[in-house]
Symmetry: C2
Subunit: 292 residues, 2 copies
């Protein structure tokens, strides 16, 4: 393996799980990330402002972002209204979520997994007609904080269903950090995603990515500084920090297109913006090549 594609999710997944920040700061974060060499950014979600006040200004953020050629920007949407908003302002990569755990899906989306799959089936043609692609993120793929282990066959069934319904891409979400190297192997031996989204809740973030690389996965979500978590999942902590992922990959000789020093500068700025210590070792200590 010579290259890996990182999708930077701090502007959406990260900020959605932090105290709200001003619109200016969101735009600045996205534009700063665009300058690091990262090729994919999850920019915003189009959700009801009462449900997710952190994303209430999604339209304004997106209108003000300096959209760079060669960068793929994506938006998360929960329903038809969200899809219409995202498509109207030009997004061509749309993400939707369904949870492999029925309990988690009900707590997160107030409906069963099956009902969410029906929703996705009806949304998909709408998105395709606008010339956009649909990525289905299967949350709690590696375990649910309410139900425990999730049978890989259940995840495989969901993947088969959404692929049959027209999904272009599949991501597996480690929503509350229950993924481990063993669970990554177990699930990926049953069904393969296009992209993996890990948290570092129990210290296994990079070990999980290492395992997935070994199994041939080349696309990962990561969040600069490790910003974000999951508000619906007690005990969940942040996403894997992009600079920790990039640091390990570059050391392995795997290209990401990202300038690590610039990325660390963005993490430093993000830390000041959020006013809390972010959970990133590479942000604290610098890369291993930074000598005294």
């Amino acid at each position: 393996m010579t290259s890996v594609s990182i999708r930077e999710v701090a502007p959406r997944d990260g900020l959605q799980n932090e105290e709200p920040v001003p619109t200016d700061a969101k735009v600045a974060l996205i534009d700063a990330l665009s300058g690091t060499g990262v090729r994919r950014i999850e920019a915003v979600s189009f959700v009801h402002p009462k449900a997710i006040p952190q994303m209430a200004d999604a339209d304004e953020v997106w209108a003000r972002v300096d959209r760079r050629p060669g960068i793929r920007y994506s938006a998360l949407i929960p329903n038809t209204r969200g899809a219409q908003r995202a498509l109207a302002v030009g997004f061509r990569e749309i993400e939707v979520v369904v949870s492999a755990s029925d309990t988690h899906n009900r707590r997160n989306l107030n409906r069963s997994t099956e009902e969410s799959l029906d929703d996705i089936a009806s949304l998909t043609p709408l998105i395709h007609e606008a010339g956009a692609t649909v990525e289905v993120i299967v949350a709690t793929s590696f375990g649910c904080p309410f139900e425990g282990d999730i049978d890989p066959d259940r995840v495989a069934g969901i993947v088969a269903r959404v692929r049959a319904d027209g999904a272009d891409r599949i991501a597996f979400g480690d929503t509350t950090g229950m993924a481990t190297p063993r669970r990554v192997r177990d699930l990926l031996s049953a069904v393969r995603p296009d992209l993996l989204h890990f948290h570092n809740t129990r210290g296994t973030g990079l070990a999980n990515i290492l395992t997935a690389l070994d199994l041939g996965v080349t696309e990962f979500d990561a969040s600069v500084g490790g910003i974000g978590g999951c508000p619906y999942a007690p005990g969940a902590s942040g996403n894997v920090a992009t600079e920790e992922v990039v640091h390990m990959l570059h050391d392995m000789g795997i290209d990401t297109g990202i300038d690590l020093d610039r990325l660390i500068s963005v993490a430093e700025t993000a830390e000041k913006m959020l006013g809390r210590t972010l959970p990133s070792g590479v942000l604290r200590a610098g890369p291993r090549t930074r000598l005294v």
Copy 2:
């Protein structure tokens, strides 16, 4: 691989790099660890109290510890005086340190690597005559914060030298968290240790252990709660947290003999004792099997 041997280093390596705690608390920590099922504990170091005030009460700590049958307790010593003290009070597993980096060795021990190797050569017979074993810990094996990368051949040369001089066991120390999966493969393809000691400075702690497991290593240091760091190395943060290591290993079906719930309880107590938030995800979030 069906089992891994963990050496718990919080009482020595951990506490040596924290604000001093009372003797009672040190004894209580060791005895609590003895109740977790861990089979090896690095208990104290016999160093000059002016150099390491945290270990000034090593004799008293050791005199008061409830020594359990079946647990191997070890002590770190810097010189002949330290060796005599450790042997006099009954230690039969003695650790000595030399740094692969000459610069780091001079800063840490005020002499060259070569001079330290000579010291170890003269200490080894003394320790053997008392019926004890010598473990040589090769610090900065995966990189030095002053010199940068360390050639695996240099580490291999040090290992050959100390083995020729009678060392019973070899450990590689990732003193400032510069180890990565790639560096673990590089070094271990040149020379094999008995035991590995990783820090989690840059998030790679468990990824490194996973890599070493894949290469057949079965002995690891870890520190409950992730207590400790390295005072001589700027930017260094704590050891890998024992509960994070055990959590990953048990999930893989690898036995450690350790009761994870008891271990987490010890981490909780240690956190109160130290009065600071310890860097352990499994301490914060609990194991993945702990449901809501």
